[in-house]
């Protein structure tokens, strides 16, 4: 190993001691011990790395609310049902085949996609850090902002939210489909988020029916489809949600 090769390896050696016993570095370290010039270079390299490290660590500070958000996920997400687990799925599929493929195909779409959609959107709704990307109280400006980013802004607000000032919006992902989240803070600081997505993102969801309302840990969620779009409204105030839905 020449010094150039030793330097390439020693550049990766970390000053904190993590690599002390990694055999990857043994030969290069030994060479540095024998060669004063290489040793001097290595000491300078380590000093510089330590200094950069001491500046870098505090600069990438972990957001304060992240841990609480992660722990809160437990209350929103249930374990994957047994019929989603590969081994058990295979066994179940064999049984289903025995019953008959035709009967299997005629079964209605499982509601799982809707449940997963709700769960994921609720996480965005509860996320405090970076809750919205674009801030504006004006829905028209929000729609313009969405259009400049190639996002479909052709949606219809529930009548109960029309004319209300928004906080802003954000575009989020649902299985490769774009969903728009519009945040509202209404009277007395009541927070609501409206998610809108093309119905192609939830193909089995029936259009035109009454809003489906579910409650999870104090949060209310209403889902409905209209005009080729799926809407999900979240809020913690049931009375207000009902009021907006009655006007929808």
């Amino acid at each position: 190993m020449n010094n150039q090769e030793a330097k390439l390896i020693l550049q990766a050696y970390r000053p904190g001691g993590r690599d002390t016993f990694d055999p990857l570095f043994a030969e290069a370290l030994e060479q540095a011990r024998r060669d004063p010039e290489l040793q001097k270079w290595f000491a300078e390299e380590q000093a510089l790395d330590s200094q950069i490290q001491s500046k870098l660590r505090p600069a990438v500070a972990v957001p304060r609310d992240l841990k609480a958000n992660l722990l809160a996920l437990r209350k929103m997400i249930r374990p994957v049902p047994w019929w989603f687990q590969p081994m058990k799925l295979a066994a179940a599929a064999a049984i289903v085949l025995l019953i008959g493929l035709a009967a299997f195909l005629l079964l209605p779409q499982k509601p799982t996609q809707l449940v997963l959609f709700r769960e994921k959107m609720v996480r965005y709704s509860m996320q405090e850090h970076g809750h919205v990307t674009f801030e504006s109280p004006d829905i028209t400006k929000i729609q313009q902002w969405l259009q400049t980013r190639g996002v479909d802004a052709n949606f219809e607000l529930p009548a109960g939210l029309q004319g209300k000032p928004a906080q802003g919006c954000r575009v989020v992902d649902w299985n490769g489909h774009q969903a728009t989240m519009i945040c509202f803070v209404l009277e007395d600081g009541k927070h609501m988020d409206l998610f809108v997505m093309d119905r192609a993102g939830l193909p089995g969801f029936p259009e035109g029916g009454a809003p489906q309302i579910v409650k999870t840990d104090g949060l209310r969620m209403a889902t409905w489809a209209k005009g080729g779009k799926v809407y999900l409204l979240t809020g913690d105030n049931e009375k207000l949600l009902q009021q907006i839905l009655r006007q929808a």
Partner: protein, 182 residues
Amino acid sequence: MSDEDYEQAVNSFYEELYRFAYSLAGNADDACELTQEAFAKLLTKGSQVRDRSKIKSWLFTTLYRIYLGWKRRDIRHPHLEITSVEDELPLVTPAMVDKLENEAVSQSLLELEERHRVPLMLHYFENHSYAEISELLDTPVGTIMSRLSRGKALMRKSLASKFIGTEHKIISINPASQRKEV
């Protein structure tokens, strides 16, 4: 996965995971989202991890795959590249770095291309051995060493430039102004 196991996993790994996500995404919002997605998968698919000692590597690999999925759709993460590096920049010393703000040092790292930035971030945060980094990024150790070396050289030129008060010219290949967030 029991509540206790989940809480223990959050307590043990969320900070490391967030920093890894930050090195990939380059901003706090996306890093938070990546971290949440990885832990959400742990809740729904954690039962697949039979050996509890593998949870850390499972979380990192899962987060990396989520990120690659985002990238495949080419929908976020402006790609920044240093396009002009001054040859006459001074050699960076610890004293020079000491005079720079933490954010300036962090920015010098974030300016790098992903293939240099990610190994360098993993290098500085020291949470993984090189064998683990190699497995996580699915890249041979030798390649990681080369990228580290090149990444360090580029970062130091950026630091030197910041120290003497000049800026690299940086162009956005996928400009942030046209960024589509999903």
